[in-house]
Symmetry: C2
Subunit: 205 residues, 2 copies
């Protein structure tokens, strides 16, 4: 792509550094900003820089937060002895939006993925193990992706906790609500049969 | 979407103001920036703000430019008497990349579209008409989208030039190079028969 303007080329280049934004999309976005009032560009630039420089990670659960300790961890109505282990803030938001969970979270900041060069030491696994070993936790709920990497991470943490008396569970894998059996993949369907639940239990919630 | 952080919420909101970027995509992009070095965010913010405040429109062709007069207009090797009328800078870039055009451009900044509230006075049509009436132009080549709006804009400019002696042409519409006839739409195919060219001419270029 040949640009007639260095300023434009530079802006398009920086925009195209974002994931799944190619050169063409970046050009479209940047030209859009040029057609809008200058204030919109200023607000976007300020919001991004402000976020990057001011944002903190909650020192308890490592979730993204404006404060030293996030709103969830500092909420006295929530059960600190039940901890849901998730990958990142999007999972916290997804679980929060169900309204079904009243414990605390622990955000790992990723999952173990040798292919991407992410090992256990790149994640907040140690603080979690410490917390559990101090006896502060009664139940750990793994809520990671149902992938090889997610399963590896679950298993790695589980092994770290050998000998510690604690209830460890993982969220149920099964047929999505509203899904038809004939279209479900066999692994999910197989797991949903193995992990079947008492019918009375399924009537709740 | 419920955010645990106002800073994050604000950044996602501003990002989602860009076209075709929804809240979820915006969140993904912003979280990506958070995982990268701070410098990347700074560079992006600076590039956008710098572009928005420093960019100029060439006072001759109204293309986006770093200078008062763009590189194409100030190039003495190009024919100023042949002007290609386009919608925006992306069309200039597309035509330039063919290497087939050695004239100048005139960027309208859009096309007439009553549905979007864009009338002739919102576009750089008057300066083009002035240029032509001063006798500075020998040929005008319309290279706008093959849409209702494009055709309307072509026709509007053509009417403005009534009585002025000038050659006005429009880029050829026809079957794309490499396309199969059976899959071409009938309007394009029909036009390509009406506007057939001498075979000898098709052997060139």
């Amino acid at each position: 792509m040949e640009f007639s303007s260095k300023l434009l080329e530079n802006a398009v280049y920086e925009m195209s550094q974002l994931p799944s934004i190619g050169k063409r999309t970046a050009l479209r976005l940047v030209l859009h900003l040029l057609q809008q009032p200058k204030e919109q560009t200023d607000r976007l630039a300020f919001a991004l820089q402000n976020l990057r420089s001011e944002i903190k990670h909650c020192k308890n659960c490592f979730n993204i937060s404006d404060l030293e300790v996030c709103e969830i961890c500092s909420n006295p109505m929530r059960n600190r002895k039940v901890i849901c282990v998730v990958e990142d803030i999007r999972d916290v938001m997804a679980i929060e939006s169900t309204g079904q969970f009243k414990g605390n979270y622990h955000v790992l900041g990723g999952i173990i993925s040798p292919m991407d060069g992410v090992g256990p030491s790149d994640l907040y696994i140690e603080p979690l193990v410490d917390k559990v070993k101090k006896g502060e936790v009664e139940e750990l709920i793994f809520a990671l992706s149902a992938s090889m990497e997610g399963d590896t991470t679950n298993f790695y943490i589980f092994k770290q906790l050998e000998g510690v008396e604690i209830k460890v569970s993982t969220i149920a894998r099964g047929i999505s609500v509203g899904d038809e059996l004939q279209y479900a993949d066999e692994v999910t369907l197989g797991r949903s049969i193995l992990n079947r639940i008492p019918f009375e239990q399924s009537l709740k919630g």
